[in-house]
Amino acid sequence: MIRNILDWLEAAAECTPNRTAYDSPEGKRTWQEVLNQAKRIGTWIARKVSAQSPVLILMDKSPDCITAMFGSVYAGCFYTPLDGTMPEARMKLVVNVLCPGLVVCQEKYRQVAGEVAGGAGLCVLEEMDGEIDEEILIKRRRQHIDNDLLYVLFTSGSTGIPKGVSITHRSVIDFIEWACCALRLPDGVRFASQAPFYFDNSVLDIYCAMRMKGSLFLVSKSDFLFPRRLALTLKEQHIDTIFWVPSALTALANAEVLGKGDLPELKRVFFCGEVMPCRTLNLWKKVLPDADYVNMYGPTEITDVCTWYRVDREFSDTDALPIGSPCKNTRIYLLEGELCVSGTCLSPGYYNDPEKTEAAFIQNPMRKQIKEKIYKTGDLAEYNSCGELMFLGRKDSQIKRNGYRIELGEIECLLNAVEKVVLGCCWYEKEQIVAAYTGEASEKEVKAALKRALPRYMLPDRFLHRESMPRTGSGKIDRLALKREVENEYSVF
């Protein structure tokens, strides 16, 4: 039983040193190169900060970004990859929560990294010296236990402040060992990566490739805009496995660029992050009738995936696809319809936020005799007649867009903070985020203010200026009445 994800890296570098590990259109690194580079970065970090320090990584999605993550781990630290194009205001919120010991960035992000780093040290990768100090790395490794954190990933928080989900080595080891076995991944598997590294679907990509001594091709973001290009990339790169959000699979399937028998090397199509429409699944099955299709479900707080369903029968376009059954070593409870999870996969909590941790990670009511946590997902589910779990929706106002998890409350908080906005309210309708507000602010001003505070995927699609907001008896915004008002006014179009 291994205790550190670096054991997999060292095994890959020893058995298959010259195999490609992580590559992109800009270049590739073999397992030996990844190992050496990670040790160099690890040495450099270990000389600057103590073990278990948070390391914030501000880099484009690249093989170098992955080696910087592993470098942090060699130094006994944990990493948080951040999107370099995120608005600075939101980066600062993340830094306030994380209090990183060190910010690692590439040259192009030097300025923004310097501005958000606060008291943390700043390291520009291009300036790193190339030395490996085995002694300091071995020392850090001896101190390590598998309960130490591996990463903290930030997700939208309903009170306006992003939440940092912390995950340990133990959870990732448990998850990856399950995934490689259940998903029947072959030695030398070749993945094509869609998920950004700040999104937890990337955990399966990065570590399954490592565990199977395979490789992960980092597809250019722009390929996902151009289906023809994307199909060509999958073919030219000899991709045999993909783990993508359903919206990416839907976009490619709907573009009508794939015919039956195209992509003969693609054997495994896995998906997670949002509801998979059966219509999309059926389009894919027409192209690849013999591929292995697996639907997975899980929030970041339980290490990517907690239930899975291998497609084993036909579905009509309008059916709902099951999310299936719990992964090995994971238990699912339905408490008043809410899906709750227990097991090694559980995050120890939101970083630096005991209150939110208390609210979501509760004592297991079925095991009162001992302290045992379960995670309340906020997702509603039920069992179908085959005994499979079916996803029904959300308990609260969290939504998913292109697989991104968005708290409407976070947008509302920021909307209410905009100058000259008196009261704001957001909802999701027909795949659009609608923001209604009262006050003197013009639509242009509101839009500009939100743009400075929110990532692009969280920006409302429509802004509605209102003279007043309908209220409920208790004085809250009457959301149903507001939606009805808006519907009546705009239905003429």
Partner: protein
């Protein structure tokens, strides 16, 4: 108003922070994400009454305002 002026006016609605007049590598430089691309296609449809087929959704047709306009003109012929 020339077609180019009309296009730039419409693109301003998509994102006024992008300099559509000057940029020539909108795709390669990552200035356009999938939401924006969808909006641009909708804008071309609204402003010029052309429906862009999926075979024309290629990077070279969206790297600059000039390229987008040439695409529109091909449809109008």
């Amino acid at each position: 108003m020339t077609d180019m002026e009309k296009l730039l006016e419409a693109l301003k609605e998509v994102d006024e922070d992008i300099d559509f007049q000057e940029e020539t590598a909108l795709i390669e430089d990552g200035l356009i994400d999938s939401l924006r691309l969808t909006e641009i296609i909708a804008v071309l449809n609204d402003a010029f009454d052309v429906y862009i087929a999926s075979k024309d959704i290629e990077p070279e047709n969206f790297n600059s305002a000039q390229a987008m306009l040439e695409l529109v003109h091909r449809y109008q012929e």
